[in-house]
């Protein structure tokens, strides 16, 4: 406790409330409100409706939800496998190589997503590697962008894992595969779950690369929100954004619970 006087504390908390309210609370609240708005010309909407939401479960919007969920799931699953694989395999390399490769695995998170999309367009627009125009290119773009995060999360988990567990397992006669499956991966589970949740969330909100590569018929939520608001259909855009936020939060919180249970047991 740094500030002891009551008025002082009140003042500081007021500052906090203002900052938090303006920066974080107001945006969420206003999106929620506008997603329910009938018309909004004054300070407050002129009426409330759930029409924008009921539109979501029909037609294009619903396709976007689907596209985003499928893309997010597949890309995150692939990123989880490859990130975990890479993090585990890096441990047996010698130190310098491991450091260099570790940085290389992180680099996709450092370049602008638009250029990842551009690169995919440049590289995979001709046979034999023709991905342009397919759904796969969207998955690939998402995979590339989130792979660094899963790799980072799993590496962090591995770094925190005492080598004793695996060594004791080995000394008891567990072969590498058995040890991996029964000791290393279960102990990493909380990190794996967290990594999956985070990459899913990132994939759900990805815009830069998607907007470069998406084929017609595979419009993800962010792209669809953008085209809605670009057309001036802001309320529908807000409703779709709320759906995106809700799905993301449910996923994150749900996975967090799973991870929590994992660590407890």
């Amino acid at each position: 406790m740094l500030v002891w006087s009551r008025p002082g504390r009140m003042l500081i908390w007021a500052v906090f409330a203002l900052l938090f309210g303006v920066l974080f609370l107001a945006p969420l609240a206003v999106i929620l409100l506008s997603s329910l708005a009938e018309q909004w010309n004054g300070v407050l909407p002129s009426g409330l409706t759930i029409e924008h939401y009921s539109n979501v479960v029909r037609g294009a919007a619903w396709n976007a939800v689907n596209a985003s969920l499928i893309t997010g799931f597949l890309a995150s699953a692939l990123a989880l496998v490859s990130g975990t694989w890479a993090a585990l395999a890096l441990r047996v390399q010698d130190a310098t190589l491991a450091r260099v490769l570790g940085v290389l695995f992180f680099i996709p998170s450092a370049v602008p997503s638009v250029s990842v999309g551009l690169g995919l367009l440049v590289a995979f627009s001709h046979p034999p590697l023709l991905l342009n125009g397919t759904i796969a290119i969207v998955m690939v773009a998402h995979f590339v962008l989130i792979s660094a995060f899963t790799f980072g999360n799993v590496s962090a988990g591995l770094a925190r894992l005492s080598p004793d567990f695996e060594q004791v397992a080995s000394s008891l006669g567990a072969r590498p595969a058995y040890r991996l499956w029964h000791v290393t991966l279960p102990l990493l589970a909380p990190y794996l779950v967290a990594a999956f949740g985070l990459s899913f969330a990132l994939s759900m909100g990805e815009l830069g690369a998607t907007v470069m590569v998406y084929p017609p018929g595979w419009v993800t939520l962010p792209v669809s929100i953008f085209s809605l608001t670009d057309r001036g259909d802001v309320f529908a855009g807000a409703a779709l954004t709320m759906v995106l936020v809700a799905v993301t939060l449910v996923l994150l919180l749900g996975l967090e619970r799973v991870a929590g249970r994992q660590t407890r047991s």
Binding site: A169, S170, S171, G173, R175, V183, L187
Partner: protein, 382 residues
């Protein structure tokens, strides 16, 4: 407590039975280990006899853990061979060495119940269900943890986790049990109990060879048949526990194993007295001590343990030195006195004190039996 039964049906078990009957020795043959250019184990040759408890002690960083991990297979020797029984295990991966290992913080698998922890090794080796069940029961019984099989490690105290870790290692019927500071995470009281428990465990499983790494000399003295004292990656001394304590071969050993007063003496003319004694001079005093082949005129150290110094003389305590009393520390059971003898601080542990102790700063005689002493050469290095 009975030795857990084993069935002879399993292949792995037949092997284990042979080993258990005869015990398995561990042999370091000029094993050296280096991290890059940094040599942490100089060519080490050492043998642990079947069924023996060897305690490896030494200061921090002296290479104890390294030696143990070389046996376990986690450190690859730069040169030399390691044999367990008749097998050269140097090139075997850890999981083919048939060892049990217990580490400092136990490393119980937190996501498994106690019984699954104990069953882990057998399951990993593909043993059959009935055998696993039986072994788990036996092993837990051996360490007195039968009632805890359904618990998770986090629901156990440190001492209990320790027992489970030992049970887990025993369940695979290891040829050798490797213990790396297994008690250092426990507090003093529990540690004393656990030392006794491990001693009892070894009485129950006399065929089990144990390599016990510790920096606690009490644990080593209590448990070990033999002790190897490590210093800077080398074995400074190695021998039967009592022998090493009574007749330390060098200063480092004398000081590391128990407390020692080391008086600088010069071996007198016409040494080699009766009963292997030599006479040596400390200033004007002529003392007798157990010799180690010294020649007259050699400068050496006379080692005498604090508890062997007496404040009163009789016909046995023929050695007599005089010192100046510096400090008196009363510790309940014992009283520690520190005297200054010719510039060397000399420590005395007395159970009984004379009715009147001289003032601090005044001279005081000390008596001891020649048979309790030994002449110890000064270390060549350091």
């Amino acid at each position: 407590m009975s030795v857990p039964a084993f069935t002879g049906s399993n292949v792995m078990d037949v092997d284990a039975a042979k080993i258990r009957g005869a015990g398995s020795n561990v042999h370091f043959d000029k094993v050296s280990v280096a991290y890059g250019a940094h040599v942490v184990l100089h060519p080490l040759t050492l043998d642990i006899a079947p069924g023996e408890i060897l305690a490896m002690i030494g200061p921090s960083g002296s290479g104890k853990t390294t030696a143990l991990r070389a046996v376990a297979g986690f450190v690859r020797p730069a040169s030399g061979r390691i044999r367990i029984g008749a097998t050269d295990v140097t090139d075997l991966p850890p999981y083919e060495r048939g060892l049990g290992m217990v580490v400092q913080n136990y490393a119980l698998f937190p996501h498994m119940r106690v019984e699954d922890n104990v069953a882990f090794g057998l399951r990993a080796q593909g043993a059959d269900k009935a055998l696993i069940g039986e072994r788990v029961k036996d092993s837990l019984a051996t360490v007195g943890m039968s009632g805890f099989s359904k618990r998770y490690p986090r629901e156990l105290s440190g001492g209990q986790q320790q027992r489970v870790a030992i049970a887990r290692a025993l369940a695979v019927r290891p040829r050798v049990l490797l213990l790396d500071e297994p008690l250092s995470a426990l507090d003093a009281q529990i540690r004393r109990n656990m030392v006794e428990e491990i001693a009892k465990l070894h009485r129950d499983l006399p065929g089990l060879t144990i390599l016990y790494v510790t920096h606690d000399q009490t644990e080593a003295l209590t448990l070990a048949d033999k002790i190897a004292i490590m210093r800077d990656g080398r074995v400074s001394s190695h021998g039967p526990t009592a022998e090493l304590y009574r007749r330390p071969p060098n200063r480092f050993t004398a000081e590391f194993l128990g407390r020692a007063n080391l008086l600088p003496v010069t071996v007198a003319e016409g040494a080699a007295g009766p009963k292997g004694l030599a006479t040596a001079k400390l200033g004007d005093a002529v003392l007798a001590g157990v010799a180690r082949g010294e020649k007259p005129g050699d400068k050496t150290l006379l080692c005498i343990r604090p508890q062997h110094l007496s404040l009163t003389g009789d016909e046995e305590h023929t050695n007599r030195i005089v010192g100046t009393l510096r400090e008196v520390h009363w510790q309940g059971e014992l009283t520690h006195l520190v005297l200054d003898v010719d510039g060397t601080p000399v420590r005395v542990s007395a159970t009984r004190l004379p009715v009147s102790l001289p003032e601090r700063g005044s001279a005081m005689p000390l008596f001891f039996t020649p048979g309790d002493t030994s002449l110890v050469p000064e270390d060549v290095r350091g």
